[in-house]
């Protein structure tokens, strides 16, 4: 008996890392449900580890498991070539995949929550068009590929995204209030405008068309430690406020008026969360191009699995997004070697049908 309760206490401790709500769930609501959540997270973390190992091993050159372990943890290292492939090529790519996948999923959860609309993804407020325009300008005007030691493509993408969202935000602001529907519409309008500019620029610079198109399709082929270092600070800078305001976002789901009645400073929370989600999206887009469907679908899948409480929804979506992009990227680089399929195509091809399947299977309203 005593042993068993200690086991539960330990489980709770582990659970608390993911799910702060777990304790009262177990005590008050039902044991089944929270156990299910716990297993879900344990299963996903295990899955993540397996996928990471698989990703290290497959690719143009197959690397056996013992070599992976030797290269990563061995004192003298393994085979020199393998070590280079693993440490310099595959590991940064895996980390970047996970950051991009989870980042897009997190931003999707936040935007869907704030705007309270299931059709919203991180790109909807003009981020993709802004980043794309920035990149197109860089490529078409041949702004060089290195500027003060920073590659211009991610820089221009990041700048384009941030400037666009800043404009959209100011377009949508009415006095000191900030109606989300106006924000959404301003974002869509701005997106159209920028897409037109982008197309025009592409017509001008037909020689570089394929580069722009390739970037727009989304790819992690350029991944290196440099990109990881580029994304990481913004990723965490955005993540911290998001984690702090998850409870408030739950209340905003009830409607902004209701949230205010319940003591949430709605305007401030909205502003902080939008800035944070934009930061993550812009950082991610700048290194990966436009990878569709993750930011739209993963939040939905997570919501179907665990419900609307953001304190559970967000970590789950982040895990699912990361794993999903990892698998997609593995497929992207191993389907027709040595050629790489842009990973955006894979995510769309895999994500679309799966989403339709889920919609048909769970017809009851989960949103």
């Amino acid at each position: 008996m005593k042993r068993e309760s200690r086991f539960w206490a330990r489980l709770l401790q582990i659970g608390r890392i993911f799910d702060i709500h777990l304790e009262y769930r177990i005590m008050v609501i039902s044991m089944e449900f929270s156990k299910r959540n716990l297993y879900l997270f344990i299963g996903l973390v295990t899955g993540l580890i397996i996928v990471v190992l698989l990703s290290l091993s497959i690719g143009t050159a197959y690397i056996p498991a013992n070599q992976i372990i030797k290269s990563l943890f061995g004192k003298r290292g393994g085979d020199g070539t393998y070590t280079v492939i693993i440490k310099q090529i595959r590991l940064p790519r895996i980390i970047l995949s996970f950051l991009v996948g989870s980042g897009l999923a997190i931003a999707g959860v936040i935007f869907q929550g704030i705007i309270r609309n299931p059709m919203v993804d991180p790109y909807v407020v003009g981020i993709s068009a802004g980043a794309g325009t920035g990149v197109t300008i860089a490529i078409v005007f041949n702004l060089g590929f290195s500027f003060l030691g920073i590659s211009t493509i991610p820089l221009m993408a990041f700048l384009g995204a941030i400037i666009t969202v800043y404009i959209v935000y100011n377009l949508a602001r009415v006095g000191h209030k900030f109606p989300v529907m106006t924000f959404l519409l301003a974002g869509v309008a701005m997106g159209f405008l920028l897409n037109a500019i982008m197309s025009f620029l592409m017509v001008l610079g037909t020689n570089d068309l394929h580069k722009v198109v390739y970037w727009l399709m989304g790819s992690l082929a350029t991944a290196s430690w440099y990109e990881v270092k580029l994304v990481l600070p913004y990723y965490f800078l955005g993540l911290i406020p998001i984690v702090l305001y998850l409870k408030d976002l739950n209340l905003i789901l009830l409607g902004e008026e209701n949230a205010q009645y319940l003591g949430v400073n709605v305007e401030r929370v909205k502003l902080i969360l939008i800035i944070a989600a934009t930061l993550i999206t812009a950082a991610v887009v700048s290194v990966s191009g436009i990878i569709g469907f993750i930011g739209l679908i993963i939040p939905h899948i997570a919501r179907m699995l665990i419900g609307p409480d953001h304190r559970k929804l967000l970590p789950l979506a982040a895990l699912l997004g990361g794993i999903f992009l990892l698998i997609s990227d593995d497929l992207a680089r191993s389907l027709i070697p040595p050629l790489e399929v842009p990973v955006g195509i894979i995510t769309a091809l895999a994500g679309g049908p799966y989403f339709i399947y889920l919609l048909r299977k769970k017809k009851s309203e989960y949103w």
Partner: protein, 429 residues
């Protein structure tokens, strides 16, 4: 008494349209206040100004003697809870989680649930009778149940003031009563100040201790229900004819709408009739001949009495249904002294007596015999059918009838409709 809410020269406009025009209002602690008024009179806008969703163009609001704007959002949520008009929840939270959200203003950033929070949630579920669906999802509940859950959430905020916007809109009558009973008990037992915006004049009248009647963004009248809900006030604010009665169970005013169709013939007389609704009329009838005139006059707001009638008579049934004063005798029994005495009393305090074209036999003959003895009273004789054809007393009834016809203030009229029109004309100043 503590001034719980003080509104001083509040003005609010929306798109250059003035919605609230200089509202001054004082509400005390532990009051049960109903804000009523027609559509577009500014009820909800006023409530949203009080709940700080909207901020006024000018004027100030004090809540518990402190400037409303000086509350921070959490502090305000601990002091005042709001149940909004639209309680639909788009996301499928469980009832328990939703009520727990009411504890938000007391929780830290992570929303960690303390023992106290759990106890309070249990307590408010008990109060609002929502314990049974704690594990259900909110969208599985009916409108009335969901309304109780939202009220429970508001109560979990442990507020001292509860604002509600149309809490019974689109609810069945049983839920309406249930919600208002709940509010009344919260007001009484928890010393909660309750401010409710309502369309339903009768519900607010039965439950509220004070009513605020709005018209075109201004306060038309503030006071106890019986002071605010008079036919004259309602006529002026809502432009509609009503009759105000007293609900015998609560002693509060009860409003009866007058359908326009029924008063169609003399709708142009409505205004005049409004001012004379307190006139008393006694109807001598029987055998169903008085049904129509009783209904017409009753709806117009006259105070009607009848007699003497046999119990079970068609006219007796109508009179009883409407709760009129009736001098009555058992079925098939001749009018006796006692009932006649009561009938005389009823006639004596009436302004007008109507005699319908009812058949007269020995049993009800004393009715008109009595009338001949009373002087100086307005009499309306409805003679659709000649007295000869309905005299079953061998000429005696005819004798009395003719006597009545010759009296100074007697008017003989052929049909009920014409009689009704005539009476309204007579009653108007």
């Amino acid at each position: 008494m503590i001034k719980m809410l003080k509104i001083d020269k509040l003005k609010f406009s929306y798109n250059n349209r003035e919605i609230l025009k200089k509202i001054d209002l004082y509400l005390e602690e532990r009051e049960f206040v109903g804000i009523i008024g027609p559509n577009g009179s500014g009820k909800t806008t006023l409530l949203k100004n009080i709940s700080r969703i909207l901020s006024p163009d000018s004027g100030v609001i004090y809540l518990n003697q402190k400037l409303l704007n000086s509350y921070d959002i959490g502090e305000l949520a601990r002091f005042m809870a709001v149940v909004p008009q639209d309680t639909a929840v788009n996301y499928n939270f469980t009832v328990y989680d939703l009520i727990m959200m009411g504890r938000n203003p007391y929780q830290d950033r992570w929303g960690r649930v303390k023992k106290e929070d759990k106890e309070i949630v249990e307590e408010v579920m008990e109060l609002t009778d929502t314990v049974e669906f704690r594990d259900k999802r909110i969208n599985e509940l009916s409108g009335g149940e969901r309304q109780r859950v939202i009220i429970a959430r508001a109560l979990a905020q442990k507020p001292r003031v509860l604002l509600l916007d149309e809490p019974t809109a689109s609810l069945d009558i049983n839920y309406q009563r249930e919600i208002f009973d709940l509010l009344a008990s919260l007001n009484k037992d928890l010393d909660l100040t309750v401010i409710v915006v309502s369309h339903d004049l009768n519900l607010s009248s039965q439950y509220c201790s004070k009513l605020v009647l709005l018209k075109d963004g201004k306060i038309f009248k503030v006071g106890k229900p019986e002071e605010v809900l008079t036919a004259r006030n309602i006529k002026e604010v809502y432009h509609t004819e009503v009759v105000v009665k007293n609900n015998p169970l609560t002693g509060r005013p009860f409003i009866i709408m007058v359908p326009k169709v029924q008063v169609g013939v003399n709708s142009r007389k409505q205004d005049a009739a409004q001012t004379v609704y307190q006139k008393r009329i006694h109807v001598i009838c029987g055998g169903g001949t008085g049904k129509k005139i009783i209904n017409l006059l009753y709806n117009q707001g006259y105070i009607i009495s009848c007699g003497v009638l046999n119990q079970g008579d068609a006219d007796w049934e109508v009179a009883k249904k409407l709760g009129l004063k009736v001098a009555e005798i058992p079925p098939f029994v001749h009018i006796d002294r006692e009932s006649l005495k009561y009938n005389r009393q009823l006639i004596n305090c009436s302004d007008l007596v109507i005699v319908t074209d009812t058949p007269f036999g020995p049993g009800n003959l004393p009715n008109i015999a009595l009338l001949t003895e009373i002087d100086d009273i307005n009499i309306v004789l409805i003679e659709g059918k000649g007295i000869k054809d309905r005299d079953y007393t061998g000429g005696e009834a005819e004798k009395y009838w003719n006597k009545l016809v010759l009296k100074k203030y007697t008017h003989v009229i052929e049909t009920t409709d014409k009689a009704f029109e005539f009476i309204n004309k007579l009653a108007s100043p």
